[in-house]
Symmetry: C2
Subunit: 348 residues, 2 copies
């Protein structure tokens, strides 16, 4: 599968048993230097196995602390320091091995080091495999808001070994399913129906079901990103549930709820704001609940909601914009919503 | 004059009396919010005058401390904090008002805020007008090397009011002339000869002479950048004298010598390394001296030279590369040079 972006196009390679050297990444490394960026949790499981996919390379590594609360400029700078310390040149490749947090920080570091060096994504969580590793959004959080500092910076290749999901904690698997459900809700009613039928298999980590879902999500994302790389328009639909979700993460303090959990509750808030038919809201609610995800946000004061959402990147001319659903599988970005209904939803 | 970069093309507007509202910048502002980034020295002179060029805009400002030693991540983050504090959205425009340091930091902040917002350059030094404001190189220094952290990020427009040179200190005017001489040396023998004839007028701040030089340099830079935006090849010739120059700045501690002064001495070192004909080395030496610029580097130990140059962004596969001259007006990037001669040059 390829993300079509002209001279920045890149392949997404999905399969079982790709680590341990069964897919050669060295052809994507211009020089011989690589820096593998991982974290304390993932590195012990997969770092040595990934080294086998980088034959002939001079591989160094750095492990970040694990968790969204460390997705900061300071952590990003620690990667740059490591690159400088190893006297890495412009031909170095930065390889992200881990979940969405590792990928976002490592990608931003790759974008900034010497004004941009090659970047390779090896996502090991479901969330990163279906969403954050594809499309080139990189960045870190600011004390006042999520992902406020970053770059659009595409990887040279995304390598998804679905076996890595075997070691993923249940809670993180569910969090990844929030983004999977998102794709169905915003642009693929057929896939949404498939998820309703197959949620039990996904939770049981059935390899075929997970493989199918990952393929489908990557294909949908690649199509949307190819059409609108820098989110001038349609790409914003991928943020369904995220305006509310980011506000939850921000108000809770990063790391309390997982990103996918916040997005799950956020999708239901957005569906209600959309004025979606009750039966469709219930379908979404049942599917989110079936995945073991929260259908309601935590208690947050309406003023805190408003303040946190004011930093959303979709705000235009001071007006909040939301991704709203016309129906399951049909979405749009809009500033036209019922503000009284929004207040009701925020009051919970 | 236009920098041709497809959908990222932008105009360079050069003239006298453009401030005080005589050129409307508001058409380059998508929303109404602007943040003018300047410094303690330039803002008192030109900030109010620039506001007149932004009619109808909601203009905020931040003044950075003045000098290369403040070209750091910390200073860049202070701009991001100011943007967040003013709750700026993706439609904000960041306007750099000042010299190369202000432009480089502000441009990098614009590149990073919400993964990229609009950026406008209003350079007020000769160096920024002829070189750093055009072409999209932005960034800050790392403790271990110059411009190691940054982005290629093009402005939407460059506005050059040549009147601003009236307030430029002599030393900074001379530093800008180093980059002017560079263009002649690397790609325009005719312009080099013109500079030999007209250096006195330039130093006397003759408006016509300065205007002509600025036009010529911007045209040369626009052509090179259009051909090779991200410095995959030919653009590197613009770094003539800079491998040595950056090492001088780094070893001296940023702010001791001005960038242009370090580049001036660096160009003569590079010319000597090139094995250029003695008569041409002397022409370059005379022109550099006529501009009031240093023709010799400060005392630096050879090991310190080597270490500092090892962080140069042109290094490939561990090999230093230099911009070398075949003749005045004819340059190439090469790793083929006489290493013994390099040692002699470093020993001074």
């Amino acid at each position: 599968m390829t993300v079509e972006l002209g001279d920045r196009s890149y392949p997404i390679v999905i399969g079982r048993d790709l680590l341990d050297g069964h897919f050669d990444l060295s052809e994507f490394v211009r020089g011989s230097d690589c820096l593998v960026v991982s974290n304390e949790t993932v590195a012990p499981l997969y770092y040595e196995r990934l080294r086998a996919n980088l034959p002939g390379c001079d591989v160094r590594s750095i492990n970040l602390p694990d968790g969204e609360s460390f997705k900061t400029v300071a952590t990003m700078l620690s990667i740059l320091d490591r690159l400088v310390e190893s006297r890495a040149n412009r031909d170095v490749a930065v390889v992200a091995l881990g979940g969405g947090v590792v990928g976002d920080i490592a990608g931003f570091a790759a974008a900034c080091y010497m004004r941009g060096v090659d970047f390779i994504q090896v996502p090991t969580t479901l969330l990163a495999q279906v969403d954050s590793s594809v499309g080139g959004k990189t960045g870190v959080n600011h004390a006042q808001g999520k992902n406020l500092i970053g770059a659009f910076y595409q990887p040279r290749v995304v390598l998804i070994d679905t076996n890595t999901l075997d070691t993923l904690p249940d809670r993180e698997l569910a969090a990844g399913l929030a983004e999977v459900i998102k794709y169905g809700a915003i642009c693929d009613a057929e896939f949404f129906a498939w998820l309703e039928t197959n949620m039990a298999q996904l939770l049981a980590r059935d390899a075929d079901a997970l493989g199918y879902a990952i393929h489908r999500c990557c294909a949908l994302k690649a199509e949307v990103v190819a059409e609108d790389e820098r989110e001038a328009g349609r790409r914003a639909i991928l943020n369904f549930g995220h305006t509310f979700g980011h506000a939850i993460e921000h108000c809770q303090g990063y790391g309390e709820w997982l990103h996918g959990e916040a997005v799950a509750a956020g999708m239901l808030m957005a569906a209600r704001l959309s004025g979606l038919a009750e039966k469709d809201i219930h379908r979404l609610e049942r599917l989110v609940a079936a995945a073991g995800l929260p259908t309601r946000p935590p208690a947050i004061a309406p003023d805190d909601w408003r303040k946190a959402m004011g930093m959303d990147k979709k705000v235009q001319g001071k007006a909040l914009r939301f991704v709203l659903l016309r129906a399951i599988g049909d979405s749009r970005v809009s500033a036209e919503y019922d503000d009284r209904r929004l207040n009701e939803i925020l009051r919970g």
